[in-house]
Amino acid sequence: MSVLTLTIEGRDVAGQTGGTILQVAGENGIHIPTLCHLQGLSDVGACRLCVVEIEGQRKLFPACVTAIDEGMKVTVNSERLAAHRRRIVELLFTERNHVCSVCVADLNCELQDLAVELGLTHFDLPLLSPQASVDATHERFGIDHNRCVLCTRCVRVCDEIEGAHTWDVMGRGTEARLITDMGIPWGASNTCTSCGKCVQVCPTGALFEKGRSVAEARRRRPYLPYLVAHEGRTR
């Protein structure tokens, strides 16, 4: 393992070979907005919120899956990036039916936090208002597809940490939906171990524990120490 030196937001920083821009930025206290990323899980680069500019490159790069390089000059905050990130969050809000006031995750929601952080005060685009379903067949948990942002954290934690691979994604484009097993009701799944990891990693109120009313959901990620242990193992 050799050390690489680079510049992020004009600051000289160093990171291990193979480290990502997101990782090295985080180690140096430089914040990059993320949504699909969760420490301990593999990265998929799907939400595009962590896109950054690299000097000499025309394209934008997702910080979570872009490896650092010697002499790299990374810009995390620019007017263009801020506008793009705000637009991404706006697209997520308009895609399904996000109504904070009646959501179990109100005030504990990463989508809501992102809207506040990025200054999304209103929508310019119309709401798509799809007819999405709710599956409450599981004894302890439920999924409201109206609140799902398709970050696939639940898919990854179920596959990579629990080893059950109960969750997956079916369909394409805006028709894409999370499914349990081969598209059966969650309560009928015989691969689900009812561990609840998917509920704890969900950034919004899509996956929830039954019996929790509005604004009562508290994600207990510190109670998932194996996420960090897993992180150490893969590096």
Binding site: H84, L91, E95, G171, G173
Partner: protein, 142 residues
């Protein structure tokens, strides 16, 4: 114009599978842009946000223009959304999806403006709808 990668790129096009579409004055360029956006919306895998939702939103804006319902604000909205989807999409499908919008706006902006300002489709392809009726039917306008 010679048919090679460089010349096509300069004109705002791509080689693709080498196919060529011949159009005349009877083709509405906004309708063409809408057709290609519908294709990308349909083909989007849904993994990344800009392509999954962005192509659907761009298709809706183009649809409103072809129906004579859109305002100049909505055209500006389409242009900014197109730049964002090009810059942030994960793969070539999303990054390339706004290309027909960019190139038709570059060469045929007047056709867009005719739909928006004059409520007319110069090629006679698009059926213009009444804005008042659309608003009354709950399809808000700006």
């Amino acid at each position: 114009m010679s048919v090679d990668y460089e010349s096509l790129a300069q004109a705002g096009s791509i080689m693709g599978s080498g196919g060529m579409i011949v159009m005349d004055q009877g083709t509405c360029m906004v309708d063409v842009a809408k057709f290609f956006m519908d294709f990308c919306r349909e083909e989007s895998c849904g993994k990344c946000v800009p392509c999954r939702v962005g192509t659907t939103q761009m298709y809706r804006l183009l649809d409103r223009i072809t129906r004579g319902l859109a305002s100049r604000d909505e055209l500006a909205e389409l242009e900014s959304l197109a730049a964002m989807v090009r810059d942030t999409s994960l793969c070539g499908l999303g990054q390339g999806s706004p290309n027909p919008v960019f190139s038709t706006l570059r060469y045929f902006r007047d056709e867009y403006m005719a739909h928006i300002d004059d409520h007319v489709c110069p090629a006679g392809v698009c059926k213009m709808e009444s804005r008042e009726a659309a608003v009354a039917a709950g399809e808000g306008g700006r």
